[in-house]
């Protein structure tokens, strides 16, 4: 089998088959890079960010790009590799000048800190240092567990199970009683899906706030076409369909906490399927930098020589899966029979815009900070009845009394007491108009169905920037990047 992209005179052997076309390694790498670069040059704003502009700009005014790198996800690593190749070309072609600098941000959990730092170090030494130019890359780490520990004020959010209204009690957190994300997720979340959803919200929040504080010009996300389609369908399924347009928007500047930001979001890998990205990483031998690279090597890809088994564990019970996992499985299952589904979903979602808001004033979700277009509490209240059939007989009366005295009844009494306390607190708050608590429909459902006792502790929106004090630039890695030398004696920060 010969590559269909090579010139007829000297065709190489094909190693990859994708989109009904056969490629050799070299042509496939070019194919992937071109697809990615096309997205990076999609409009004037991004062209100006990534190109070397003449006359050469003054120092400090070069575009600053934020690249969230997840070492357990192939998309962002493949993207970093292509961005790195672009920088190498720019250095070579423009007399040691580049159009932009890259802030690499990695979010880790307490348990994975050592392996994340080890892999990052080898990535820096084996890959990024080859740029041979200081101050282009800067590496940052955030421990996700510190999401709560650096916040000064939190809200205790609670849902009234009668009419789905949301109430919140604000309280300050002193340094002695610091909260831990892992404990909070463990204590409040009733299932794996809600835990994953909240973790994903936290990661996105941290990345966006970092971009805001760090004055970045763009965030480039590593989502492949497959991943984006999965996210779109997951958003629909979670009742967050109204957020699709904002999520995919790369034309407007982002907003955080109702403040305009100076950065735009971009998905440069959106024209590439996940199987293509997996194949790209394997051809370029980049999987070794991933944390779960044994698993990555077994992921579905489009290499001719290696046809692997589907990634998801077939034995896993549906009940134990998260919504995201079920969606991934659905796409994997139908991919063979309906191959164009993934691109169709993304193309359809790209045609969406923000819905018309029926809110009297602009509101944003206390948890995920997305815009709210319709009041979810009243919508849910309109379609759900929570009143009961009256008690009629003496037996029913005695059963009710028995329930009241039981643990279940007492637990309900505690919930009602907490709800009344928070309601009272809200009523006494003179700034109640300013502190009107709102959740988007998706987060309201999450709180109502998947969180214990329908209440959750969450940092207050206006204190979010304080979270970023937990950001640590990795001095050692950055010094290595800036000095071109490896100092292994230096301690990690």
């Amino acid at each position: 089998m010969e590559c269909q992209r090579c010139p007829v005179s000297g065709r190489n052997l094909a190693t990859v088959e994708s989109r009904k076309e056969k490629f050799c390694d070299e042509c496939f790498i070019k194919f992937v890079s071109t697809k990615q670069r096309k997205q990076m040059m999609k409009d004037e704003f991004f062209r100006n960010l990534f190109k070397v502009l003449y006359p050469l700009e003054k120092e400090g005014s070069v575009a600053r790009i934020l690249l969230p790198l997840s070492l357990s996800d192939s998309g962002s690593l493949a993207m970093l590799d292509i961005v790195h190749d672009l920088l190498l070309e720019q250095v070579k072609q423009h007399n040691n000048h580049t159009g932009f600098t890259v802030d690499i941000l990695t979010i880790f959990t307490g348990e994975t800190v050592s392996i994340v730092k080890e892999r990052m170090e080898s990535l820096v030494k084996e890959k990024l240092l080859k740029l041979n130019k200081p101050n282009i890359y800067k590496v940052h780490f955030i421990d996700i567990n510190e999401f709560f520990s650096n916040t000064s004020r939190v809200s205790n959010l609670i849902i009234d199970d009668g009419n789905f209204e949301i109430f919140a009690k604000s309280k300050s957190v002193d340094s002695g009683s610091r909260l831990c994300l892992r404990e909070i997720l463990g204590e409040y979340c009733l299932n794996n899906s809600s835990r994953t959803d909240l973790t994903s919200i936290i990661k996105t929040q941290l990345i966006k706030h970092f971009a805001y504080e760090n004055d970045n010009d763009a965030i480039i996300w590593g989502h492949s076409m497959t991943k984006l389609s999965e996210v779109i369908i997951s958003l629909v399924v979670k009742g967050k369909g109204s957020q699709i347009a904002t999520f995919l928007d790369s034309e407007s500047f982002d907003t955080l906490d109702n403040r305009p930001c100076n950065y735009k979001n971009l998905y440069p890998m959106k024209d590439l399927l996940s199987v293509e990205i997996e194949s790209f990483l394997q051809i370029k031998s980049l999987t070794r930098f991933l944390i779960n690279f044994e698993e990555t090597n077994a992921k579905p890809n489009c290499l001719i020589a290696k046809k692997s088994s589907p990634l998801l564990d077939q034995q896993k019970l549906v009940k134990n899966m998260t919504i995201n996992e079920i969606t991934t499985k659905y796409f994997q299952d139908i991919q063979n029979d309906y191959s164009n589904i993934i691109s169709t979903v993304l193309r359809t979602a790209d045609k969406l815009t923000e819905p018309r808001s029926s809110m009297t004033k602009p509101s944003q979700c206390q948890i995920c900070q997305s815009k709210i277009y319709t009041d979810p509490s009243s919508w849910l209240d309109r379609i759900t009845v929570t009143s009961s059939c009256p008690i009629e007989t003496s037996e029913e009366e005695s059963a009710f009394k028995q329930w009241q005295d039981s643990k279940l009844g007492q637990s309900h009494t505690r919930y009602v007491e907490l709800l009344n306390e928070i309601k009272k607190d809200t009523a006494n708050n003179h700034d109640v108009d300013d502190k009107d608590v709102k959740l988007c429909y998706g987060c309201l459902i999450l709180l109502n169905t998947s969180v214990k006792d329908k209440n959750l502790i969450w940092p207050e929106v206006d204190t979010m920037s304080s979270l970023l004090s937990s950001t640590k630039d990795d001095k050692e890695l950055n010094e290595i990047l800036n000095q071109f030398e490896i100092n292994s004696d230096r301690e990690e920060c």
């Binding site: 399924v237 369909g241 193309r347 018309r356 009845v385 009961s388």
Partner: protein
């Protein structure tokens, strides 16, 4: 030795455990886990909640006007049977002031539709409602069995869907009724939202969750009072109310791709039961970007209220979809037919015949 009466296992009062009590009234034994949110409910609370939710949907969306004549699309299946029962019950209870007529379409699927129509006829007696039946044969000179024998089973849903939709409108118009109520439930709605996104059906995306649909040129409007009612809850309600309905699935298999979406939703429900209304909420908030005008490109604009040049029915093109399908069918119709030929009868008839066999 004194005599002691044996214990009476039937009439012995059973003590209900606290954990078995209904989560709403906390006084009666819970009999079902509500599919919508998995809360454990007793029969009384479930029925009250289910009926009130549908009443709320009708009132908040102003579905009915006093004095209006309503045609209930009745197939004899669970959705339409519960719908007819519910509308009669709520009309009596809340005095909507509407007149209800059952409107059935006979697609001509031997062994399936004839049996289900028998159920509708029984419903007519049970609820004391007038019934009108219109058939594909009378309206189009084709039965579904004949269509399948010509066009194959794969496209059966396309033909049936288009013809049934038009037949309901034509039937209602003949009866002088301008409002058709159908038993589409929340599961159907959610499935449609997902299918439209997965298939990229942009034209239908924004309207797919509308509770009332009406074209500007048509006198017939349609509404779906079960928009927020879970299919499983409709079945449970029918079971508790001991309603008489026909429960066999259509002989002609459902579309394969729709089957994948159904399976996906079933898996989602196992993890988050609220996902069906969550999808509807998403569907209600999907809005399309304004199309960029292209002066060079001549676009034939869709005008709401266009009429088919052949039959006069509403159509976005010069010829309506039904006439287009009929044209294709006529070309394939056999010129010569065998007298009393039953080969076009569906598999349902054979199945029914087999069911009746006994030793």
């Amino acid at each position: 030795m004194s005599f002691s009466a044996p214990s009476d296992p039937v009439n012995r009062p059973t003590k209900v455990k606290v954990s078995q009590l209904c989560e709403l009234c906390h006084s009666r034994k819970a009999l079902i886990k509500r599919p919508k949110n998995l809360s454990k409910l007793c029969k009384q609370c479930f029925c009250l909640v289910f009926e009130t939710e549908i009443h709320n949907t009708i009132v908040t969306n102003s579905l009915f006007q006093r004095g209006e004549r309503i045609a209930v699309g009745a197939s004899g299946g669970k959705d339409s049977t519960v719908l007819a029962h519910m509308l009669k019950l709520l009309n009596d209870r809340h005095d909507y002031g509407i007149e209800i007529v059952l409107l059935s379409i006979d697609e001509g699927i031997v062994g399936y539709r004839d049996d289900s129509l028998a159920t509708v006829k029984r419903n007519q007696q049970q609820y004391g409602l007038p019934l009108e039946i219109f058939s594909f044969k009378d309206l189009y000179d084709w039965t579904m069995d004949e269509i399948v024998s010509v066009a194959g089973i794969r496209n059966s849903c396309t033909y049936c869907g288009v013809f049934r939709r038009q037949s309901l409108d034509r039937g209602a118009a003949k009866l002088g009724i301008s409002h058709v109520v159908t038993g589409h439930n929340a599961d159907d709605m959610a499935e449609t939202v997902l299918m439209n996104i997965l298939r990229g059906d942009v034209a239908r995306l924004e309207k797919s969750t509308a509770i009332i649909t009406q074209s500007s040129g048509s006198p017939i409007k349609r509404s779906k009072p079960f928009k927020y009612s879970y299919q499983k809850e409709i079945v449970l309600y029918a079971h508790y109310m001991k309603l008489d309905y026909f429960s066999t699935e259509c002989t002609y298999a459902p579309e394969a791709f729709r089957g994948t979406a159904r399976e996906y939703m079933k898996n989602l429900e196992a993890v988050r039961p609220s996902c069906i209304v969550d999808i509807i909420q998403s569907g209600e908030n999907l809005a399309l970007k304004a199309k960029k005008s292209n002066a060079k490109k001549r676009v034939v604009k869709f005008v709401d209220g266009n009429r088919c040049t052949k039959c006069g029915y509403l159509s976005s093109n010069s010829i309506c979809k039904a006439c287009m399908l009929l044209e294709g069918l006529e070309k394939s119709r056999a010129q010569v037919a065998i007298e009393n030929d039953t080969s076009t009868h569906s598999a349902a008839l054979k199945l029914r015949a087999l069911e009746k066999l006994s030793f």
